[in-house]
């Protein structure tokens, strides 16, 4: 893990893989968003990541930091809803943490994403256990210290663990007790980002 070196092309591949997996899973994300949200998460994420891939292909950034900053900006300007600013902030902040470095290590990736997750928690005013994307992101980043596969597994487990939770943030929170028993769509899409990361790291 410690020897892995990740360049700008790797991050473009990650975003491309994320767009593909979100495309495949879009209907499921929207389905999860129906009982406790407003049935649009899949389509919004699909639109956003498609725009990210188009932007990165048109103007491939030179560094990992520039790649994630460009991806984050594109999400903010194309997704809308809460997902746009939250996912956009996650990637932008991680990109900023990389600075101008032409390559980053797996540990630097983990630290950058951790900074991104802190920014997401602050922006959304939420914490793990609130039935949000943090419930997949936080365990995913912790497990990233072990391996990409471990991170994918931990975030997937984190998303599944939102089922019995009572939503305290976002639209699902309006349902109160009735939010219990449903998997959070935001945590689910967050786990897909880690799945895409594990896929491109192979």
């Amino acid at each position: 893990m410690s020897e892995t070196v990740l360049d700008a092309a790797f991050f473009v591949r990650w975003m491309t893989a994320a767009a593909a997996v979100i495309d495949r899973e879009a209907d499921r994300l929207t389905e999860l968003d129906s009982p406790i949200g407003d049935a649009d998460h899949g389509r919004n994420m699909q639109r956003g990541f498609a725009a990210v891939v188009t932007a990165l292909e048109a103007e491939p950034p030179a560094t990992p930091g520039a790649t994630l900053i460009a991806a984050g900006r594109k999400l903010i300007s194309s997704v809308g809803g809460a997902s746009g600013p939250l996912y956009g902030t996650l990637l932008r902040r991680a990109g900023k943490a990389f600075g101008e470095a032409p390559q980053v290590s797996a540990e630097e990736l983990r630290a950058g994403l951790a900074a991104g997750v802190d920014a997401v928690a602050q922006l959304g005013g939420s914490a793990p256990g609130d039935k949000t994307m943090l419930d997949a992101l936080v365990p995913g980043i912790e497990a990233l210290a072990t391996s990409f596969d471990a991170a994918a597994a931990a975030s997937e487990k984190g998303a599944l663990a939102t089922v019995p939770m009572l939503a305290r943030k976002g639209r699902a929170s309006y349902l109160g007790e009735r939010s219990i028993g449903h998997q959070d769509p935001g945590a689910t899409s967050s786990a897909l980002l880690f799945a895409a990361l594990a896929e491109v790291a192979k």
């Binding site: 049935a39 649009d40 389509r43 300007s77 997704v79 809803g81 809460a82 922006l123 309006y174």
Partner: protein
């Protein structure tokens, strides 16, 4: 579910093209999704900008015009607009006297308007924001997203819009908008779910013979499901839910709002019951508005919004307004 559309992907753009064709008094930027009154920026006037997901028409685009909004930013269906839209709108309408953002309290709207305010200020536009959170069905707490913004948005946009039209400064327009928010509460019920074009089937399953109490305006289920009630019973429940958090000492503006698929015949019958309850509770009614103003696509159902008004708020409510969705007085 059959819909009067071409394809789901273009519903918002198609509706904007229709607005442009029907309302030459508006400038509709279909590509960038901004609706602006044609005479903007109006000299020496504070500008009002609002926006939110589409699917609530006539809110917000139908409320752009003299006496109400200067610009509106429609997002995708039930999805907040992106910051670029609000920044573009603010730049188009600012006369140099500042811009008030009217934001409904949903996480997405709050975050996108917050980012837009920062970006617009970087470009030299003075921005103030008011958050509308009137729905009593949601428990307001620092541990939740807080009450939703629903019917009171119309009262805020009308009254603050009139204040701006009179030439009041930004701080005063903002303070009046906050007063309207603090003085307004709403409660909604659904007799059916709604169908988003993207999904094509109802957002939740509501069996015949049941209704949802405490719904919002995005097809999300409410807090409680019961056996179907009569108009009289719904009015008792809804008005008492609002009065439990409002306790008006002053006369109220009443909005009996249809969610999109309930006929005016039913809404007026419901309005009669709402007035009966208000009379029984000793609440004086200053003005009443009945119709489909803050809708939830094709949802059947209604909401009740009360706003207690002093002399100034009532005068501003009565002031002339010329928009596609609300028009009187001139």
């Amino acid at each position: 579910m059959k819909m009067l559309i071409n394809v789901a992907e273009t519903v918002v753009a198609d509706a904007l093209r229709g607005m442009a064709a029907a309302h030459p008094e508006l400038v509709v930027d279909v590509e960038n999704r901004v609706i602006v009154r044609r005479d903007a920026p109006v000299a020496d006037k504070v500008a009002l900008v609002s926006g939110g997901g589409s699917g609530h028409e006539p809110l917000h685009g139908g409320f752009v015009g003299p006496g109400m909004l200067d610009a509106a930013c429609p997002g995708e269906v039930f999805t907040s607009p992106v910051p670029d839209q609000m920044v573009r709108a603010a730049a188009a309408v600012d006369s140099g006297h500042g811009v008030l953002f009217v934001v409904k309290n949903y996480t997405g709207d709050v975050l996108n308007f917050q980012m837009a305010a920062e970006l617009a200020e970087d470009e030299g536009v003075q921005v103030a924001s008011v958050l509308v959170d009137d729905d009593v069905a949601v428990v307001d707490s620092t541990f939740t997203a807080g009450r939703r913004g629903t019917g009171a948005t119309l009262f805020v946009e009308k009254i603050a819009g009139a204040a701006a039209e009179e030439g009041m400064p930004l701080e005063r327009v903002e303070a009046l908008a906050r007063q309207v928010v603090a003085s307004s509460r709403s409660f909604g019920v659904a007799l059916s779910a709604c169908t988003t074009p993207a999904k094509g089937s109802p957002t939740f399953d509501l069996p015949a013979g049941e209704l949802e109490l405490g719904v919002g305006i995005h097809g999300e289920p409410g807090r409680e499901r019961r056996a179907m009630m009569t108009s009289r019973e719904i009015a008792d429940f809804a008005v008492d839910a609002v009065l439990a958090e409002l306790d008006p000492r002053l006369p109220v503006l009443v909005l009996v709002n249809g969610m999109g698929a309930t006929p005016l015949l039913e809404l007026y019958g419901f309005q009669a019951e709402v007035r009966r309850v208000l009379d029984e509770r000793g609440v004086a009614v200053a003005r009443t508005l009945v119709g489909n103003y803050v809708t939830s696509l094709d949802m059947a159902g209604c909401s009740v919004t009360l706003c207690q008004v002093d002399g100034e708020l009532l005068r501003l409510w009565d002031a002339p307004v010329q928009t596609a969705g609300l028009r009187w007085g001139r």
